[in-house]
């Protein structure tokens, strides 16, 4: 009686293993979770790309919601998300801060002249000094920073309509509601 179902045990264990591995396959190994989520933004200070006389510092990210977008002129996915950023730059709920990463200033400015500038301010980080502080390991990456300067989310890869509508927009709305 008790034995009648026992032969199923290996099958069930095997099935569980298959499900586990399938879930693993579906995950993108390039998306490494950031340990900085929930932590305060790192201290930094960078010359601005558009006006090297001015500096962009961590304090500029406090007081309002910010999308911090890591980009470079050599990064083709960045060009892909550029249009989305242009649309988002019209949204008054947040500022878009660029981190021009491992790039050449002339090349970067060339891209902005050609395709428009969606950024409120851009830090120029050719040597990855600030990139390392933020744990940046590729471009594009986008951090969502709340008014207190806490990193709330990191998106790896280009922002498109789907990412915006399903992930970033609800988060921004939630941050906006926090007072």
């Amino acid at each position: 009686m008790a034995k009648s179902w026992r032969f199923l045990i290996p099958l069930v264990v095997f099935g569980a293993l298959v499900v586990l591995l399938l879930i693993g396959l579906g995950k993108d190994p390039r998306k490494v979770p950031s340990p900085l989520i929930g932590k305060s933004i790192p201290e930094f200070s960078l010359p601005e790309l558009t006006d090297t006389g001015r500096t962009l510092a961590d304090d500029d990210l406090r007081g309002q919601i910010s999308l911090v977008n890591v980009w470079a002129s050599w990064c083709s996915s960045c060009r892909q998300e550029h249009q989305a950023l242009m649309v988002l730059s019209e949204d008054p709920d947040f500022q878009i801060v660029g981190l021009n990463w491992k790039d050449d200033a002339q090349d970067a400015l060339g891209v902005l002249r050609m395709t428009g500038n969606p950024y409120d301010r851009i830090g120029y980080d050719p040597d990855n000094d600030v990139g390392i502080e933020w744990g940046v390991y590729g471009a594009p990456e986008t951090f969502v920073v709340d008014r207190e300067g806490i990193i709330r989310y990191k998106h790896i890869g280009p922002i498109d309509r789907k990412v915006w509508e399903e992930t970033l927009q609800p988060l921004v709305a939630q941050l906006k509601a926090e007072r």
């Binding site: 950031s34 340990p35 040597d127 990855n128 390392i132 390991y137």
Partner: protein, 165 residues
């Protein structure tokens, strides 16, 4: 030369070329061979997040170069190995380490295989003990007759005969 041998030689060549390109320590200056060795060991423990299956020591990615420089600078500044590892983990996460740290969220990873082996061993031992404990089945007269018949019907068969125990 046959095609497979050519292919193997080519693979070997590519492999050794990869190793030759992997060590780019010439650009770093060290005070002593020990320090160089320490640096070499340290960057071998760290993962390049761009290539993921390469260590910082082996990777030619630009990010790996930046992180090698960072590690080098920190070492020159007298920071200990643990401090350097903590610095990178705080920014890039545990994934930057090739060997995952032992902590509650990785217990399954570290001990899971041993638990599975334990369960397997338990099942095997119990099955064997069960088999031992169960009494031999008695052979009925009808079965004995059938056995005799079969043995007689095929006397030249050189398969081992079942020993009567």
């Amino acid at each position: 030369m046959t095609r497979p041998i050519q292919a193997i030689l080519l693979a070997l060549l590519l492999f050794t070329a990869g190793i030759a390109a992997a060590y780019t320590l010439e650009e770093f200056q060290f005070d002593s061979p020990e320090q160089q060795e320490e640096f070499r060991e340290l960057i071998a423990k760290l993962r390049c997040l761009v290539c993921q299956n390469e260590s910082l020591a082996g990777s030619q990615a630009e990010l790996a170069q930046d992180l090698r420089n960072e590690v080098y600078e920190m070492m020159r500044a007298g920071r200990s190995e643990d401090e350097i590892l903590d610095f990178l983990v705080a920014r890039y996460g545990d994934f930057v380490l090739y060997e995952p740290p032992l902590k509650p969220s990785t217990y399954l990873l570290w001990f899971g295989p041993f638990v599975l082996i334990g369960i397997g061993a338990f099942v095997v031992i119990r099955t064997i003990q069960r088999k031992k404990a169960s009494p031999e089945q008695a052979v009925s007269d009808a079965e004995r007759n059938r056995i005799e018949q079969l043995l007689k019907a095929n006397p030249s068969d050189d398969r081992p005969r079942p020993s009567d125990s």
